[in-house]
Structures are given as structure tokens and as C-alpha cells.
Symmetry: C2
Subunit: 344 residues, 2 copies
């Protein structure tokens, strides 16, 4: 598998990209006449995959759409797809018939037999939730003209987990919140988010830590909420406020410029010097220099290089780049070398 | 007060200087007919100073010998003398008539009214204990031809603390033991040293920590030990063994070159990047790059620069270099700037 040269995770051109790395929309859909995935037989799961494959998703996702049968993919390939945020950990780790279709630009992916029969995902750089939702709806339309989808006039789309019932839309943004972390405000933001029924997760979604000060914020409940309400609340109110909090915290940090520069330059110094580096430290330090670059305080740091390193420092990407199976120590050495050379 | 351009603490040319930064000999002497310092009246202490000043130490210490009356010195001047290892903390912090005579090359100092009436000190770069002792004896001869010193045929020189009775000689070496610290062997060495009746102290002697992996090792007891026995045991056996231990530990570290280089280059990276730096961190990191330079693994690090920084990063030296009274934060900033500029 090759990395799209300008995939959504490598693109720094999106709106509000100083804080919002990417926007993601996932629609949960299930096929009528089939039990939910966790109740379906292996044969029924195969049937679901077959039905979706015959929909002709290529006409929406684009020529060159890649189909990956996850039962045949190696663990490294599956990890690579997780690192690119093209599939969820759950889909990667399952042991049942499951697949994913990926658009050539890696902005759209359709997971089959994750928690629901279908999870339609659109991932765009920066804050582009509205655009992502409209693209997700196009994919959904293409699917629904060909397949009979479980829908109740009373409840809306029916999903395996009750929280997704209704419009079945999960909106999420990957936020870079280093200043809120440094000022210690992040916990207050987390609590406020909880009260607003938002999920705040780490870089890899549910159960993952906030590596590199990257937080995935998403709505949790869709039952009884219309698409428009959701868009208005999440896109017009919540996300702008989070962006504003982080920018305020950055301005606060800039009031103690020497303390801030000390942290930024130390991060750069270590990234340019280390001979061994684990993924957690790499993410933490890359996050710092990304902040420095956004604030114009590390003028020789290119934001796109940092973005690329955040992705390529991940274990599966690194293994792939090295071309051979590396042990833990070799991986740490390869990561340090790659980062050092990219930043020097 | 000006720093001697090639004082013993700045000289990297001494024998075994990869491990031994400096050698020091201190002789404890007391004037007959006077109570020990802690029992003497203020008037008697003044008398002792007056008597020593009339000895004509300049003929031994050299033209340009500096006399410092510590009652009149500012706290910064006193701290400066401690940082240069020309006086003890005890002499700096006392509140009684006391003084010090310092040779122009800063290799010899004579403290008056420290624990004993006289403490004659010779400080030389590298392992030069024999030479330091012979110079100390010359100063002692000059003193004893002019002054009546307390000496007992049975016990030898009489001193305020019983451990110094006898030859009254304290030999010590300032050792740089980063590898023993990194390999965790330092505690074993400390225990062995204790069994050999050695004192192992930090950079500033009694009560100080081993900042920057610098350890001051000295004999503790002189009662019943002749000068020759002491020299033989300490210089011929103990110090060479300690040097050997450290060198073995360095070779051990070099068997994992990437891990070692990671530590060395990270230290260099932080020293070259930080905008704020406390003295403890500065000492720790400078110690690391000194190790790197000694092993030839940081080819662009000049050992003499590191030696100079180890001294000039100290608070009083830094204050003096900056020319103004700096607060704690300004001091940390000035230290980081000085180090960064010296190493870049």
C-alpha cells in the first residue's frame, strides 16, 4: 500500500489548521434484512460484503478505489490503515469477514462489518465538517439507491449501538491543543466537553491516549437530533469555541516568551539530536514544534514536514519505509534518524 | 576579582584529565600559644591574621598575591571564591575575622581562621597530587620558619578536628565519573570508598551533591598515618583504581554505541537549544558532553570550552559576567544564552 501524496492527513491547507488537523464524518448504516454484525453469521457477513461490493462505489469514490479484504491483510497492513485513520482499530483487530473501500485520495473510506454493516467515512484537512458531511451524504445516496438500508420512520437509521440511532452521524475533529495542555486548562475543557455530551479521545480514537496533544472530539448521541441541529451545535458553536480556547491559551503562553521559546527550542534540539526515540516522545516533541511553527516562533520549521513526520513516525509507516522487519530498538533508532534528517 | 586566565580549574592539560579534573592538597596548621579558632576570642583571631600577614607569603605564593579580608568581601565575592574552589564554604559563610591569601595563578591559597588557624591549599589540574603536596610543603616551610606551629612529638600536628591530627594532610581529587553513574556502578564505588575510609563528596565539598557527576574523593584520617603512607595508599593505589573503574565503565558504555550517542547528543541538543537553564541541569548536561568529548564521540566539542562553562555557569561567575544583579529567572536565561552561544 502506498501513501497518497497529498492525503488528508498530510494536507496543511485546510481552514483553521493551526488548531484543527482534520475533520471527519462517519455515517452508520445497516442493511435491512440482516442481523447487526455482532449477531450475524459468518455467511451473512460475507453476504453483506458481497452486496456492498456490487454497489459500484467506484463511481462515487473515484477510479482507483482500493478494496482491502481485512481477513487477507497482514497485521502490518492493517496497522498502516489505522495509522492513516482509514479504518478503526476495531475493524483492524476483528477476526470476522470485513473489508474496506478506500478512495484514491484517501478522503473517503467505507468500512464493512465494523460495528455496523456500513461505516461511511469522509476525512478532510482542517475544519471542513460541512463539506465532509455533504460528501458523506453523496456516498450514502449512492449506497441507498442500490441497497435497502434499515430505517425507521420513528427512530431514523437503526444502528447496532443505540447512541448512533437517528441520523447516525458522528462528526469529529482532530484538534491540536498543546497550549491548553501546557497551561493546564485541558482538564477544564475536557470536563466542559463531557457536560456537552462530547467524546474527547486520543489520536487513535476510543481507548487511546492523547498522544502529541492531539485530541479527537466528537458528538456522542444522535438519537433525536437532526442533521441540521447537530451541524449547527457542533460546527457553529462547539468547534469554534474549542479553537478559540486553544488560541487564547497560545496567546497566554506568548506572554512569557522566554519560557515558551525554551520549551519549543528544547523540543527542536532533542528532535535534531536524539539517536533513539519512542513513538510517544516523538509525538510529544513534534507537537511542540508544530505549535512553534504555527506561532512563527520556529521559523525554520516547515509545518508540512512536521505533519508528515507525525504520520511517518508511526510504527507501521516506519516499518514500511525501512522495507524490513525491525525490532523495537531498531525502530526507535530508525525513527530518530528519520526525524533528525528531516529537521536538519 | 578577575579569573586567572589559566587557573587550575580551566586547565585541561593535567595527567589523567579524562577522569581527574583537579588534585588538591590541604595542610591544617595551628599557631602555638593560641586556642583553636572555635575557642579563640575575636581579638585572638585578629592577632592570628596579623601574624600570618607578616610572614611574607608573597615570596612563596608569588608577586601579585591577593589578600581577601572576608569580613569586608561581599557575599557575591565570597561565593565566587567558593566556585573557584579557592576557599571552603565554611570560610565563606563564617561571621568572624577570617582571610585568605591567593597566589596569582590561583593554584595556592592560604585560608586563615577556617576550622584551623591555617589551611594551606594547593590546587592543580589533573592528577598531580605528588606535585601539589610538594608545593604545599614549600608553603608550609615558609610559614614554619616564621611562625611557631602547634606540633606534638607524639601526635604530630595538632588540629581542631582529631581526624586531621598527625600529618594534617588532606589529599583530594575531583573526579568526573559519568560512566560509573550511567552504569549504576557509582553506589558500589561509594561503598567501597567508605570501607577504605575515604570521603566522597559533591562538587563543593562537604554537604554538597555530586552535581554534574563530579565527585570529590579524599582521605579522612591522618592520625597515625605518615605522609609517605598516605601518598602511597591514596596516589598509588586508590586514585588509579578509581580512574580505572571509570574508564572500564566508559568502555562498557561504548559497547552500546547508539544508546550512548543518544544520551550524548541529546545533552548537546538541549544545551544548544534551551532558553532557560538551572545550574543543576547545566552541570548534568555539561558533564555528559564532557564524557562525549573525552571519548571522541562529540568531535565538535572542545574540552576546554566545557571546562570553562562548568565554571562560568555557576551563579556568582554568571552574575559577575553579566555585570548586574540578576534575579533567578534572568540568571537561568543568561546561563542558557551563554552556554548556547559557546557551543554553537
Amino acid at each position: 500500500m502506498r501513501l497518497a501524496p497529498n492525503g488528508p492527513l498530510l494536507d496543511e491547507a485546510g481552514p483553521d489548521s493551526d488548531v484543527v488537523l482534520s475533520s471527519r464524518v462517519r455515517l452508520a448504516r445497516n442493511l435491512a434484512g440482516f442481523p447487526f454484525v455482532n449477531k450475524a453469521t459468518v455467511a451473512q457477513r460475507h453476504q453483506v460484503i458481497g452486496l456492498v461490493q456490487r454497489v459500484g462505489l467506484e463511481s462515487t469514490l473515484g477510479t482507483g478505489t482500493v478494496w482491502v479484504n481485512l481477513m487477507h491483510a497482514t497485521s502490518k497492513e492493517r496497522q498502516l490503515l489505522v495509522e492513516r485513520h482509514l479504518i478503526s482499530r476495531q475493524l483492524a483487530e476483528g477476526d470476522t469477514p470485513r473489508a474496506v473501500a478506500i478512495s484514491p485520495d484517501e478522503r473517503i473510506s467505507v468500512m464493512i462489518n465494523e460495528e455496523d454493516h456500513l461505516r461511511l467515512q469522509v476525512l478532510l484537512p482542517g475544519q471542513q465538517l460541512e463539506d465532509a458531511l455533504s460528501r458523506a451524504n453523496s456516498v450514502d445516496d449512492a449506497v441507498e439507491t442500490k441497497l435497502d438500508v434499515s430505517f425507521s420512520r420513528r427512530w431514523g437509521y437503526l444502528t447496532a449501538c443505540p447512541t448512533n440511532v437517528g441520523c447516525g452521524i458522528r462528526l469529529s475533529v482532530m484538534l491540536h491543543l498543546p497550549a491548553l495542555r501546557m497551561t493546564g486548562e485541558i482538564e477544564r475543557v475536557r470536563r466542559a466537553a463531557k457536560e456537552l455530551h462530547l467524546a474527547v479521545r486520543g489520536f487513535y480514537g476510543e481507548g487511546s491516549d492523547s498522544t502529541g496533544d492531539l485530541y479527537q472530539v466528537s458528538n456522542q448521541v444522535t438519537l433525536g437530533v437532526s442533521e441540521n441541529d447537530l451541524l449547527e451545535q457542533f460546527c457553529q458553536r462547539i468547534v469554534p469555541r474549542l479553537i478559540d480556547y486553544e488560541r487564547q491559551a497560545r496567546r497566554l503562553l506568548e506572554q512569557s516568551p522566554t519560557t515558551l521559546d525554551d520549551r519549543l527550542h528544547r523540543a527542536m534540539g532533542v528532535l535534531r539530536s536524539a539517536r533513539l526515540m519512542g513513538i510517544d516522545e516523538a509525538m510529544k516533541l513534534l507537537s511542540r514544534i508544530r505549535l512553534g511553527a504555527c506561532l512563527g516562533r520556529l521559523p525554520d520549521v516547515d509545518l508540512r514536514t512536521v505533519r508528515r513526520l507525525l504520520l511517518q513516525a508511526q510504527p507501521a509507516h516506519l516499518q514500511l519505509a525501512m522495507g524490513s522487519e525491525l525490532g523495537e530498538d531498531q525502530l526507535r533508532e530508525a525513527r530518530a534518524t528519520m526525524i533528525r534528517e528531516a529537521l536538519t
